[in-house]
Protein backbone atom coordinates (compact mmCIF):
# COMPACT_ATOMS: atom_id res chain seq x y z
CA UNK A 1 0.00 0.00 0.00
CA UNK A 2 1.32 3.42 -0.85
CA UNK A 3 1.51 6.20 1.68
CA UNK A 4 -1.15 8.25 -0.19
CA UNK A 5 -3.94 5.69 0.21
CA UNK A 6 -3.17 4.59 3.74
CA UNK A 7 -6.00 5.64 6.10
CA UNK A 8 -4.77 7.94 8.79
CA UNK A 9 -7.49 7.17 11.32
CA UNK A 10 -7.81 10.80 12.31
CA UNK A 11 -4.81 10.71 14.57
CA UNK A 12 -2.29 12.17 12.16
CA UNK A 13 -4.65 14.77 10.74
CA UNK A 14 -5.84 16.25 13.97
CA UNK A 15 -2.84 15.62 16.14
CA UNK A 16 -3.66 14.79 19.71
CA UNK A 17 -7.23 16.10 19.49
CA UNK A 18 -8.44 12.63 18.46
CA UNK A 19 -7.29 11.17 21.74
CA UNK A 20 -10.58 11.80 23.52
CA UNK A 21 -12.52 9.38 21.35
CA UNK A 22 -9.82 6.96 20.37
CA UNK A 23 -8.61 5.89 23.80
CA UNK A 24 -10.24 4.62 26.91
CA UNK A 25 -8.69 5.53 30.18
CA UNK A 26 -9.54 4.31 33.62
CA UNK A 27 -8.24 2.27 36.46
CA UNK A 28 -7.54 -1.35 35.75
CA UNK A 29 -10.22 -2.35 38.21
CA UNK A 30 -12.84 -0.29 36.42
CA UNK A 31 -11.93 -1.79 33.08
CA UNK A 32 -11.98 -5.33 34.34
CA UNK A 33 -15.36 -4.81 35.96
CA UNK A 34 -16.67 -3.20 32.81
CA UNK A 35 -15.55 -6.17 30.76
CA UNK A 36 -16.95 -8.68 33.20
CA UNK A 37 -20.28 -6.94 33.41
CA UNK A 38 -20.72 -7.18 29.66
CA UNK A 39 -19.76 -10.80 29.24
CA UNK A 40 -21.64 -12.78 31.84
CA UNK A 41 -22.25 -16.31 30.63
CA UNK A 42 -24.97 -18.21 32.48
CA UNK A 43 -24.86 -21.96 33.00
CA UNK A 44 -27.99 -23.94 32.22
CA UNK A 45 -29.08 -25.02 35.61
CA UNK A 46 -32.80 -25.48 35.21
CA UNK A 47 -34.39 -27.52 37.94
CA UNK A 48 -38.15 -27.02 38.05
CA UNK A 49 -40.88 -24.59 37.04
CA UNK A 50 -38.47 -21.65 37.09
CA UNK A 51 -36.41 -23.33 34.38
CA UNK A 52 -39.29 -22.86 31.97
CA UNK A 53 -39.41 -19.16 32.75
CA UNK A 54 -35.65 -18.98 32.40
CA UNK A 55 -35.91 -20.57 28.98
CA UNK A 56 -38.80 -18.27 28.13
CA UNK A 57 -36.56 -15.34 29.01
CA UNK A 58 -34.12 -16.58 26.40
CA UNK A 59 -36.95 -17.03 23.88
CA UNK A 60 -38.04 -14.60 21.22
CA UNK A 61 -40.57 -12.65 23.23
CA UNK A 62 -38.30 -11.56 26.09
CA UNK A 63 -35.04 -11.87 24.21
CA UNK A 64 -32.27 -12.05 26.77
CA UNK A 65 -29.84 -11.48 23.90
CA UNK A 66 -30.38 -7.77 24.43
CA UNK A 67 -28.02 -7.98 27.35
CA UNK A 68 -25.50 -10.14 25.56
CA UNK A 69 -26.51 -13.09 27.68
CA UNK A 70 -28.36 -15.45 25.41
CA UNK A 71 -25.60 -18.04 25.24
CA UNK A 72 -26.41 -20.42 28.04
CA UNK A 73 -23.39 -22.64 28.51
CA UNK A 74 -24.00 -26.32 28.97
CA UNK A 75 -20.67 -26.84 30.70
CA UNK A 76 -20.02 -25.17 34.04
CA UNK A 77 -16.38 -24.75 33.03
CA UNK A 78 -17.42 -22.15 30.49
CA UNK A 79 -19.93 -20.34 32.65
CA UNK A 80 -19.58 -17.70 35.29
CA UNK A 81 -23.18 -17.23 36.38
CA UNK A 82 -25.27 -19.98 37.87
CA UNK A 83 -28.98 -19.31 37.80
CA UNK A 84 -30.43 -21.77 40.30
CA UNK A 85 -33.87 -22.02 38.75
CA UNK A 86 -36.13 -24.08 40.94
CA UNK A 87 -36.32 -26.10 44.11
CA UNK A 88 -33.15 -27.81 45.26
CA UNK A 89 -33.76 -31.23 46.74
CA UNK A 90 -31.55 -32.97 49.24
CA UNK A 91 -30.46 -35.33 46.50
CA UNK A 92 -29.57 -32.48 44.17
CA UNK A 93 -27.62 -30.47 46.74
CA UNK A 94 -24.26 -32.24 46.32
CA UNK A 95 -24.61 -32.07 42.55
CA UNK A 96 -25.33 -28.37 42.68
CA UNK A 97 -22.37 -27.77 44.93
CA UNK A 98 -20.10 -29.74 42.64
CA UNK A 99 -21.20 -27.81 39.59
CA UNK A 100 -20.64 -24.58 41.45
CA UNK A 101 -17.14 -25.70 42.37
CA UNK A 102 -16.44 -26.59 38.77
CA UNK A 103 -17.18 -23.08 37.60
CA UNK A 104 -14.26 -20.75 37.02
CA UNK A 105 -13.66 -17.69 39.14
CA UNK A 106 -15.10 -15.12 39.08
CA UNK A 107 -18.55 -16.61 39.47
CA UNK A 108 -21.91 -15.43 40.61
CA UNK A 109 -25.15 -17.08 41.66
CA UNK A 110 -28.71 -15.92 41.13
CA UNK A 111 -31.25 -17.73 43.24
CA UNK A 112 -34.36 -17.74 41.08
CA UNK A 113 -37.73 -18.21 42.73
CA UNK A 114 -38.81 -18.67 46.31
CA UNK A 115 -38.01 -22.37 46.45
CA UNK A 116 -34.35 -21.75 45.69
CA UNK A 117 -34.26 -18.72 47.94
CA UNK A 118 -35.97 -20.09 51.03
CA UNK A 119 -37.60 -23.42 50.32
CA UNK A 120 -40.81 -21.59 49.47
CA UNK A 121 -44.00 -23.42 50.28
CA UNK A 122 -42.17 -26.72 50.62
CA UNK A 123 -41.03 -26.73 54.21
CA UNK A 124 -40.45 -30.45 54.31
CA UNK A 125 -37.88 -33.19 54.44
CA UNK A 126 -37.04 -33.15 50.75
CA UNK A 127 -36.16 -29.58 49.96
CA UNK A 128 -33.09 -27.62 50.99
CA UNK A 129 -34.48 -24.57 52.78
CA UNK A 130 -32.65 -22.01 50.71
CA UNK A 131 -29.81 -22.63 48.30
CA UNK A 132 -27.67 -20.16 50.26
CA UNK A 133 -27.04 -23.01 52.67
CA UNK A 134 -24.93 -24.59 49.96
CA UNK A 135 -23.57 -21.85 47.73
CA UNK A 136 -23.17 -18.09 48.29
CA UNK A 137 -25.95 -16.21 46.54
CA UNK A 138 -25.56 -12.76 44.98
CA UNK A 139 -29.09 -11.92 43.89
CA UNK A 140 -32.43 -13.38 44.95
CA UNK A 141 -35.26 -13.20 42.44
CA UNK A 142 -38.65 -13.46 44.16
CA UNK A 143 -41.77 -15.05 42.70
CA UNK A 144 -43.22 -18.48 42.13
CA UNK A 145 -42.14 -18.67 39.43
CA UNK A 146 -40.57 -15.27 38.77
CA UNK A 147 -41.72 -13.96 35.43
CA UNK A 148 -39.00 -13.45 32.82
CA UNK A 149 -39.12 -9.73 33.63
CA UNK A 150 -38.21 -10.48 37.23
CA UNK A 151 -35.33 -12.64 36.11
CA UNK A 152 -34.11 -9.86 33.84
CA UNK A 153 -34.32 -7.43 36.70
CA UNK A 154 -32.26 -9.81 38.80
CA UNK A 155 -29.70 -10.06 36.03
CA UNK A 156 -29.52 -6.28 35.69
CA UNK A 157 -29.13 -6.01 39.45
CA UNK A 158 -26.25 -8.44 39.19
CA UNK A 159 -24.71 -6.40 36.37
CA UNK A 160 -24.94 -3.38 38.58
CA UNK A 161 -23.35 -5.29 41.40
CA UNK A 162 -20.47 -6.44 39.23
CA UNK A 163 -19.92 -2.94 37.90
CA UNK A 164 -19.98 -1.23 41.28
CA UNK A 165 -18.78 -3.97 43.56
CA UNK A 166 -15.32 -4.89 44.72
CA UNK A 167 -13.06 -6.72 42.36
CA UNK A 168 -10.64 -8.49 44.59
CA UNK A 169 -12.85 -10.18 47.15
CA UNK A 170 -13.10 -13.87 46.41
CA UNK A 171 -16.66 -15.11 46.33
CA UNK A 172 -17.82 -17.02 49.32
CA UNK A 173 -14.90 -16.35 51.57
CA UNK A 174 -15.48 -14.20 54.57
CA UNK A 175 -19.18 -14.93 54.62
CA UNK A 176 -18.53 -17.42 57.36
CA UNK A 177 -21.31 -19.75 56.21
CA UNK A 178 -20.87 -23.13 57.73
CA UNK A 179 -22.75 -26.25 56.71
CA UNK A 180 -22.54 -29.73 58.02
CA UNK A 181 -21.23 -32.33 55.65
CA UNK A 182 -21.74 -35.98 56.33
CA UNK A 183 -18.38 -37.57 56.88
CA UNK A 184 -17.70 -41.25 57.49
CA UNK A 185 -18.23 -40.75 61.23
CA UNK A 186 -21.05 -38.26 61.42
CA UNK A 187 -21.47 -34.62 60.42
CA UNK A 188 -18.39 -32.45 59.97
CA UNK A 189 -18.68 -28.64 59.85
CA UNK A 190 -17.33 -27.14 56.63
CA UNK A 191 -16.91 -23.45 55.87
CA UNK A 192 -18.30 -22.51 52.49
CA UNK A 193 -16.04 -21.26 49.76
CA UNK A 194 -13.07 -23.27 50.88
CA UNK A 195 -14.13 -26.65 49.57
Amino acid sequence: MSSETRPTGGLLESGLEGLSHNFLTGTLEELVKWARRHSVMPATFGLACCALEMMAAGGPHYDLARYGMETFRASPRQADLMIVAGRVSQKMAPVLRQIYDQMMEPKWVISMGVCASSGGMFNNYAIVQGVDQIVPVDVYAPGCPPSPETLMHAILTLHDKIKNGELTRRKGEGLGLVVEQMGPSGPVPVTLGQG
Binding site: Q90, Y125, Q181
Partner: protein, 176 residues
Protein backbone atom coordinates in the same frame (compact mmCIF):
# COMPACT_ATOMS: atom_id res chain seq x y z
CA UNK B 1 -69.90 -42.18 52.11
CA UNK B 2 -68.02 -45.06 53.60
CA UNK B 3 -66.38 -48.05 52.11
CA UNK B 4 -69.06 -50.36 53.30
CA UNK B 5 -71.88 -50.22 50.92
CA UNK B 6 -73.32 -53.66 50.76
CA UNK B 7 -73.90 -53.85 54.49
CA UNK B 8 -74.41 -50.29 55.59
CA UNK B 9 -78.09 -50.23 54.67
CA UNK B 10 -78.95 -52.95 57.13
CA UNK B 11 -76.35 -52.56 59.78
CA UNK B 12 -78.53 -54.33 62.36
CA UNK B 13 -78.35 -57.70 60.71
CA UNK B 14 -75.00 -57.83 58.99
CA UNK B 15 -74.48 -61.50 59.67
CA UNK B 16 -77.40 -62.56 57.57
CA UNK B 17 -76.17 -60.92 54.40
CA UNK B 18 -73.30 -62.63 52.70
CA UNK B 19 -70.56 -60.13 51.93
CA UNK B 20 -70.35 -59.17 48.30
CA UNK B 21 -67.48 -60.73 46.39
CA UNK B 22 -65.82 -60.45 43.01
CA UNK B 23 -63.14 -62.83 41.76
CA UNK B 24 -63.61 -64.65 45.10
CA UNK B 25 -62.46 -61.56 46.95
CA UNK B 26 -64.37 -59.27 49.27
CA UNK B 27 -65.79 -56.34 47.36
CA UNK B 28 -66.85 -52.92 48.57
CA UNK B 29 -67.92 -49.79 46.78
CA UNK B 30 -66.38 -46.42 47.30
CA UNK B 31 -68.13 -43.56 45.52
CA UNK B 32 -69.12 -45.86 42.70
CA UNK B 33 -65.64 -47.35 42.39
CA UNK B 34 -65.05 -51.04 42.94
CA UNK B 35 -62.61 -51.95 45.69
CA UNK B 36 -61.32 -55.46 46.30
CA UNK B 37 -59.79 -56.52 49.61
CA UNK B 38 -57.42 -59.43 49.08
CA UNK B 39 -55.27 -60.71 51.91
CA UNK B 40 -51.53 -60.75 51.64
CA UNK B 41 -51.66 -64.44 50.80
CA UNK B 42 -54.33 -64.21 48.12
CA UNK B 43 -52.87 -61.09 46.49
CA UNK B 44 -50.57 -62.77 43.92
CA UNK B 45 -53.26 -65.21 42.92
CA UNK B 46 -55.79 -62.44 42.52
CA UNK B 47 -53.40 -60.50 40.30
CA UNK B 48 -52.98 -63.55 38.07
CA UNK B 49 -56.76 -63.95 37.85
CA UNK B 50 -57.21 -60.30 37.02
CA UNK B 51 -54.49 -60.39 34.41
CA UNK B 52 -56.22 -63.30 32.74
CA UNK B 53 -59.55 -61.49 32.98
CA UNK B 54 -58.31 -58.57 30.89
CA UNK B 55 -56.87 -56.20 33.45
CA UNK B 56 -53.65 -55.76 31.52
CA UNK B 57 -52.32 -52.63 33.15
CA UNK B 58 -51.52 -51.63 36.69
CA UNK B 59 -52.18 -47.94 36.52
CA UNK B 60 -51.02 -47.03 39.96
CA UNK B 61 -49.57 -48.58 43.07
CA UNK B 62 -49.05 -46.63 46.25
CA UNK B 63 -48.86 -47.09 49.97
CA UNK B 64 -50.90 -45.57 52.77
CA UNK B 65 -49.84 -45.38 56.41
CA UNK B 66 -52.92 -45.68 58.64
CA UNK B 67 -51.03 -45.05 61.87
CA UNK B 68 -53.14 -42.10 62.98
CA UNK B 69 -56.35 -42.90 61.18
CA UNK B 70 -58.46 -45.50 62.96
CA UNK B 71 -61.73 -44.44 61.35
CA UNK B 72 -61.40 -46.35 58.11
CA UNK B 73 -64.06 -48.85 57.18
CA UNK B 74 -63.13 -52.31 56.05
CA UNK B 75 -65.14 -55.49 55.55
CA UNK B 76 -65.51 -57.38 58.82
CA UNK B 77 -63.34 -60.28 57.66
CA UNK B 78 -60.37 -58.05 56.97
CA UNK B 79 -57.99 -57.36 59.82
CA UNK B 80 -56.81 -53.73 59.64
CA UNK B 81 -53.06 -53.26 59.70
CA UNK B 82 -50.86 -50.21 59.83
CA UNK B 83 -49.93 -50.12 56.15
CA UNK B 84 -52.03 -50.56 53.09
CA UNK B 85 -50.88 -50.99 49.52
CA UNK B 86 -53.38 -49.66 47.03
CA UNK B 87 -53.26 -50.98 43.48
CA UNK B 88 -55.33 -49.53 40.67
CA UNK B 89 -55.88 -51.71 37.63
CA UNK B 90 -57.57 -50.97 34.36
CA UNK B 91 -59.31 -53.14 31.82
CA UNK B 92 -59.13 -51.31 28.53
CA UNK B 93 -61.52 -53.58 26.70
CA UNK B 94 -64.37 -53.29 29.18
CA UNK B 95 -63.35 -49.80 30.22
CA UNK B 96 -63.43 -50.86 33.81
CA UNK B 97 -61.26 -50.04 36.76
CA UNK B 98 -60.60 -52.01 39.91
CA UNK B 99 -58.83 -51.05 43.07
CA UNK B 100 -57.11 -53.49 45.41
CA UNK B 101 -56.39 -52.61 49.02
CA UNK B 102 -53.96 -55.00 50.65
CA UNK B 103 -53.25 -54.83 54.37
CA UNK B 104 -49.56 -54.97 55.27
CA UNK B 105 -48.58 -55.30 58.93
CA UNK B 106 -46.00 -53.02 60.51
CA UNK B 107 -43.78 -55.86 61.62
CA UNK B 108 -42.61 -57.81 58.60
CA UNK B 109 -43.84 -55.24 56.07
CA UNK B 110 -43.43 -57.39 53.01
CA UNK B 111 -45.72 -57.95 50.06
CA UNK B 112 -45.18 -60.18 47.01
CA UNK B 113 -44.10 -58.12 44.05
CA UNK B 114 -46.36 -57.74 41.04
CA UNK B 115 -43.37 -57.30 38.79
CA UNK B 116 -43.53 -60.58 36.91
CA UNK B 117 -47.08 -60.01 35.71
CA UNK B 118 -46.96 -56.25 35.53
CA UNK B 119 -43.43 -54.99 34.84
CA UNK B 120 -44.77 -51.44 35.00
CA UNK B 121 -44.99 -51.69 38.77
CA UNK B 122 -41.20 -51.67 39.06
CA UNK B 123 -40.85 -47.95 39.68
CA UNK B 124 -44.04 -47.73 41.74
CA UNK B 125 -42.97 -50.49 44.11
CA UNK B 126 -39.59 -48.87 44.49
CA UNK B 127 -41.33 -45.63 45.35
CA UNK B 128 -43.52 -47.36 47.92
CA UNK B 129 -40.45 -48.97 49.44
CA UNK B 130 -38.66 -45.64 49.51
CA UNK B 131 -41.52 -43.71 51.05
CA UNK B 132 -42.99 -46.32 53.42
CA UNK B 133 -40.39 -49.01 53.88
CA UNK B 134 -42.69 -51.73 52.56
CA UNK B 135 -40.58 -54.40 50.89
CA UNK B 136 -41.68 -56.27 47.81
CA UNK B 137 -40.70 -59.90 47.60
CA UNK B 138 -39.41 -60.78 44.15
CA UNK B 139 -38.74 -57.26 43.02
CA UNK B 140 -35.63 -57.21 40.81
CA UNK B 141 -34.06 -54.01 42.04
CA UNK B 142 -35.55 -52.80 45.29
CA UNK B 143 -33.58 -49.66 46.04
CA UNK B 144 -34.53 -46.15 46.95
CA UNK B 145 -35.79 -44.26 43.96
CA UNK B 146 -36.61 -40.73 45.04
CA UNK B 147 -34.48 -40.13 48.11
CA UNK B 148 -30.67 -40.37 48.16
CA UNK B 149 -29.59 -43.97 48.57
CA UNK B 150 -28.10 -43.43 52.04
CA UNK B 151 -31.08 -41.52 53.41
CA UNK B 152 -32.28 -42.52 56.85
CA UNK B 153 -35.97 -43.18 57.35
CA UNK B 154 -39.04 -43.41 55.17
CA UNK B 155 -40.48 -39.93 54.77
CA UNK B 156 -44.15 -40.61 54.09
CA UNK B 157 -44.62 -42.60 57.28
CA UNK B 158 -46.79 -40.72 59.69
CA UNK B 159 -44.18 -40.83 62.46
CA UNK B 160 -41.60 -39.12 60.29
CA UNK B 161 -41.13 -35.38 60.78
CA UNK B 162 -42.54 -33.23 58.03
CA UNK B 163 -40.34 -30.20 58.06
CA UNK B 164 -37.39 -28.44 59.55
CA UNK B 165 -35.21 -31.40 58.86
CA UNK B 166 -31.52 -30.53 58.86
CA UNK B 167 -29.76 -30.83 55.55
CA UNK B 168 -28.37 -34.31 55.08
CA UNK B 169 -25.71 -32.80 52.90
CA UNK B 170 -22.90 -34.95 51.64
CA UNK B 171 -19.99 -33.59 49.72
CA UNK B 172 -19.93 -34.77 46.15
CA UNK B 173 -17.61 -37.78 45.88
CA UNK B 174 -15.89 -36.87 42.63
CA UNK B 175 -12.91 -34.59 42.04
CA UNK B 176 -13.60 -30.92 41.77
Amino acid sequence: MTDIDAQSGEADTPAEIAPETLFDTLLTHSHGQLVLHPTRESYPGLLATLHAAGYHSVVDLCGVDYLTNDSRQLPAAIEPERFEVVVNLINHRERARLRLRVQVPEIDAVLPSAFILYPGTEAMERETFDMFGISFDGHPDLTRILMPEDWIGHPLRKDYDVGRIPVQFKGAPANR
